[in-house]
C-alpha cells in the first residue's frame, strides 16, 4: 500500500504555467510550407553534382563511405534535432507578439536594440520564421534598427544553431571566439541603421 499518496492526485488542480501566461486554446497552426521549393532543389542539385564528381574522379569506393558517415552522423544528431525542432516549432505559438512589439519600438533606445538582439539569439527557427517575425515586428511598430539588431542577433548568435549545428562541426574554442567577438555586433549594426535613418543615433 502506498504510504503517502498526495491528495492532489485524487482531485488535481488545473496546472498553471509558471512562466508563460497562455490562454486555454493554442493559436491556429501556421500555414504549411511547400515541401518542394527552390531551396531543396538547389540543395539536391549541389549534392548530386558533388556526388557525381566524387564518383567520376574517385569511384564508388569513395562515394559509399560518405553515405555511411552521413548516416552515422545523422543518428548521432537525431535526439538534438528532434528537441531543437520541437522548440523551434512551438515557441512561435507561445510568444506574446503584441508585447514584444512594444519593447522594440522607435523610442526603445539601446535597451530596445538589446532586447531585439536577445530575441534573435533566443528564438529558434529558420530564415522563414525569423524574417516573417521581423516584418511582423516592423508592422507592429518596431523600428528598422531594432529589426536589424534582431536579424543580426539571429544570424550571428542564434543559440539553437550554435548549439545544434556549429558545436557539432567546429572546435569549441573557435565557436567561443566567434560568439564572443560577435556579441556586440547586433547592437552596433542596429545603432548604425538608426543613425543612417535618423541622422543621429538614439
Amino acid at each position: 500500500m502506498p504510504r503517502d499518496a498526495p491528495d492532489s492526485t485524487l482531485n488535481p488542480a488545473p496546472r498553471k504555467s509558471r512562466w508563460l501566461d497562455l490562454p486555454d486554446l493554442p493559436p491556429a497552426a501556421p500555414p504549411r510550407r511547400r515541401l518542394i521549393d527552390s531551396g531543396i532543389l538547389v540543395l539536391a542539385a549541389f549534392t548530386l553534382v558533388s556526388g557525381s564528381a566524387v564518383l567520376w574522379r574517385d569511384g564508388l569506393g569513395r562515394v559509399l563511405p560518405v553515405f555511411g558517415e552521413t548516416a552515422w552522423f545523422l543518428a548521432e544528431l537525431a535526439p538534438k534535432v528532434v528537441a531543437g525542432i520541437f522548440i523551434a516549432a512551438t515557441l512561435p505559438l507561445v510568444l506574446p507578439k503584441d508585447r514584444v512589439a512594444a519593447w522594440i519600438g522607435h523610442d526603445s533606445g539601446l535597451r530596445g536594440l538589446a532586447i531585439a538582439a536577445l530575441a534573435g539569439t533566443l528564438i529558434p527557427g529558420g530564415p522563414m520564421v525569423i524574417f516573417l517575425l521581423g516584418t511582423g515586428f516592423l508592422g507592429a511598430g518596431a523600428d528598422l534598427g531594432a529589426v536589424v539588431a534582431f536579424i543580426s542577433g539571429w544570424s550571428l548568435l542564434s543559440l539553437n544553431r550554435t548549439l545544434i549545428w556549429e558545436m557539432s562541426f567546429l572546435p569549441l574554442h573557435l565557436v567561443a571566439i566567434r560568439f564572443l567577438v560577435s556579441l556586440p555586433m547586433p547592437l552596433l549594426m542596429g545603432t548604425a541603421v538608426r543613425f543612417l535613418i535618423n541622422g543621429r543615433g538614439r
Binding site: R57, E69, F86, L174, I177, R178, M185, V193
Partner: protein, 162 residues
Amino acid sequence: MNILIGTVLIGGMAVWLWRQLPNTAWRQAGLKATGSTLIFTVPRMVLALLGAGFFAALLPADQVRGLLGKDSGLSGIVLATMLGPVTPGGAFVAFAVAAAALKAGASTVAALVYVTSWSLFSLTKILAYEWPIMGRSEVALRVFVSLPAPLAVALFGYFLVA
C-alpha cells in the same frame, strides 16, 4: 563531446517548454507543428549533409592550405569572406564546409571569417527569404552596416588565436 553538451542543453530547454504547455490542446498543437517542421527539415538535412560530405571529399587539401592556411594573410581572409555568401544550403552545409576546410589545413581565422560571412551574407537566405519578405532597401541597409563584421572578426581572431 560537443554534440553531447548541445544535446543536453537543447533537451533541457525542450523539456522546460513542454512543461509550460498548459493542456492537451496546447501539447497537440506543439507536436503537430513539430511534425510538419520535421517533415520539412529532415529531407533538407539529409541532402545537405550528403552534399557537404561529397564537397569535403572534393576539397584539394594542399590548395586549401595554400589559399586559406595560416600564411595566406589578407588574401585568405578576402577569399573566406567571398566564399560565405555563395555557400548553398543551410547551416549544416556552412559548418560542414568550415570543418572540412579546417581539416584540410585552413587557419582558424579563415574559418571564423567564413562562418561570419556566411551568417550575415548567405545568398540563399537573402535571395530566397530576406529580399522577398523584408524588401530590397531593408536588406541593402542591413548588408551595408554588416560589411565590416568579417574584418572585425579576423582582427580579433588573430589576437585571440595567436
